[in-house]
């Protein structure tokens, strides 16, 4: 009775062990720079004052919400087409992170909107699309947790992820259409006025910082998932050995 061959994941674990400290340090550094730039060098908005700076957290999170689904989609292709052992580990580890970033995007979006609109939520097109994306993340996580066998859960989640990837542009288009039907164009857009250089640098730095945060957390989560699966395999071996005795 042999453990399934985990040679690839073993090399991966060694790589992660070496890379994680550097990635964590780079993340911290990027956040330090980004926060400094956002707070001190970016100008206040003439209308919104200092609250516009929530944008520096909200926008990168919104980008990551989409970006993580892209990462999951690529991992799903890896699961379905090549049955690569690391692919569904990558997909499973990414889902809660994506959900968290999406939630942060919604949360900071609501915080940003409150001073402007007077309420926390006005169903504007962009935030509503992100809300639907959040629901889809939760659906994927629910699927992972409901199917017992990890490899079957992986394939089921992979199919749903790809179906979601195809649907996301359609949903975005539909929500935009729906929004123009029901709300006049004079509602303040979350994007604010045109982006000019003084805003661009802090924004991109924060985007880089959040991106590094994702990579760091993702690799750590993948490592944890691999270890979790090893524990599970050992448990199965033990049960099977006891049956034959």
């Amino acid at each position: 009775m042999a453990l399934i061959d985990l040679a690839n994941p073993t090399r991966f674990l060694a790589l992660v062990a070496r890379a994680l400290p550097w990635l964590a340090a780079a993340t911290a550094l990027a956040f330090a720079c980004g926060l400094y730039l956002s707070w001190f060098t970016a100008p206040d908005d003439y209308q919104q004052g200092a609250t516009v700076k929530i944008m520096f957290v909200h926008v990168p999170n919104a980008w990551l919400a989409m970006g993580v689904w892209t990462v999951m989609s690529i991992a799903s292709i890896g699961t379905l087409v090549w049955r690569h052992p690391l692919a569904d580990v990558a997909a499973k580890a990414a889902a809660p992170l994506g959900a968290a970033f999406t939630f942060l995007a919604l949360f900071t979006g609501a915080l940003w909107g409150r001073p402007m609109w007077g309420t926390y939520w006005v169903w504007d097109a962009r935030l509503t699309s992100v809300l639907v994306l959040f629901l889809m993340y939760l659906g994927i996580i629910a699927l992972w947790r409901t199917v017992d066998d990890p490899s079957r859960a992986g394939r089921a989640a992979a199919i749903l992820t790809l179906v979601g990837a195809v649907n996301l542009p359609i949903i975005k288009f539909s929500v935009d259409w729906w929004n123009t039907l029901h709300q006049p164009a004079s509602v303040i857009r979350l994007g604010g006025p045109a982006i000019h250089p003084a805003i661009l640098t802090p924004l991109l730095t924060m985007a880089l910082a959040f991106g590094l945060l994702f990579v760091t957390l993702h690799l750590a989560a993948m490592r944890n998932e691999i270890l979790r699966r090893r524990v599970r395999a050992m448990g199965l071996m033990q049960a099977h050995a006891a049956q034959g005795a």
Binding site: G139, T146, A156, V163, G164, S174, W178
Partner: protein, 221 residues
């Protein structure tokens, strides 16, 4: 009789003989429409305004009803294994089951719409518009629901998992179905949203069986 025709007849026969499938869906639809005025008050003007939306949401939820048994019933008695071993392509087999489901669940909802529209004080023109958009849109709801049904096939306690997986994907169909209905009522702009609704249905007729077939293959392993 060809293989797929036999499957269609069998599924429709089963839907009729087991648990009154069609009537159950219509009954649920009626209940949803009845609950709404309890929640928002018997304001006829308001009901007429949101009537198309209530009918669409009711139809959407009712469509999902029989879906969780679509593949699970076959999986539980071992028929699903044999369906995969026929000579017809799996995607066509799945599409045939979807067609049987739509004829026995979706179509009755469309037929029940005029009666329910009366409860919501809708004009005949509005009723016609909603019925037409439901006719065009319920196949999309069935095909998208197929994906959730196939993904949850081997789970003994799917429960709310299927709706959780499927409902976000139905948002575009809902948006354009209601938009087309409202456009027909106000008298302008029906064409564009209706065309998009039809496009969504055609797209889901392809994507749904493809994804459901892939999900079934991994589900029987």
């Amino acid at each position: 009789m060809t293989a797929l025709a036999a499957l269609l007849v069998r599924d429709m026969r089963l839907a009729v003989r087991i648990g009154g499938g069609a009537l159950m869906g219509v009954l649920f639809f009626l209940i949803v429409v009845t609950l709404t005025p309890f929640a928002i008050g018997p304001d006829l003007v308001l009901l007429k305004r949101i009537g198309p939306a209530i009918l669409w949401i009711g139809a959407l939820l009712a469509s999902l009803l029989a879906l969780d048994r679509l593949f699970a019933a076959d999986h539980e008695d071992g028929s699903l294994d044999l369906l995969l071993m026929g000579s017809a392509p799996l995607e066509l087999t799945v599409l045939t089951k979807a067609l049987a489901h739509w004829i026995t669940t979706g179509l009755p909802l469309v037929i029940a719409t005029p009666l329910l529209g009366l409860f919501l004080n809708l004009e005949p023109q509005a009723i016609g518009a909603v019925a037409l958009t439901l006719l065009a849109g319920t196949p999309a709801l069935t095909c998208i629901g197929l994906i959730g049904a196939a993904l949850s096939v081997a789970l003994r306690r799917g429960g709310l998992l299927l709706p959780v997986l499927v409902l976000p994907l139905t948002v575009p169909v809902l948006i354009f179905g209601v938009a087309a209905s409202n456009a027909a009522i106000t008298g302008s702009g029906f064409g564009a949203p209706f065309m998009i609704l039809c496009a969504l249905t055609l797209g889901s007729l392809v994507l749904g069986p493809l994804a459901a077939g892939a999900a079934l293959r991994q589900g029987v392993e």
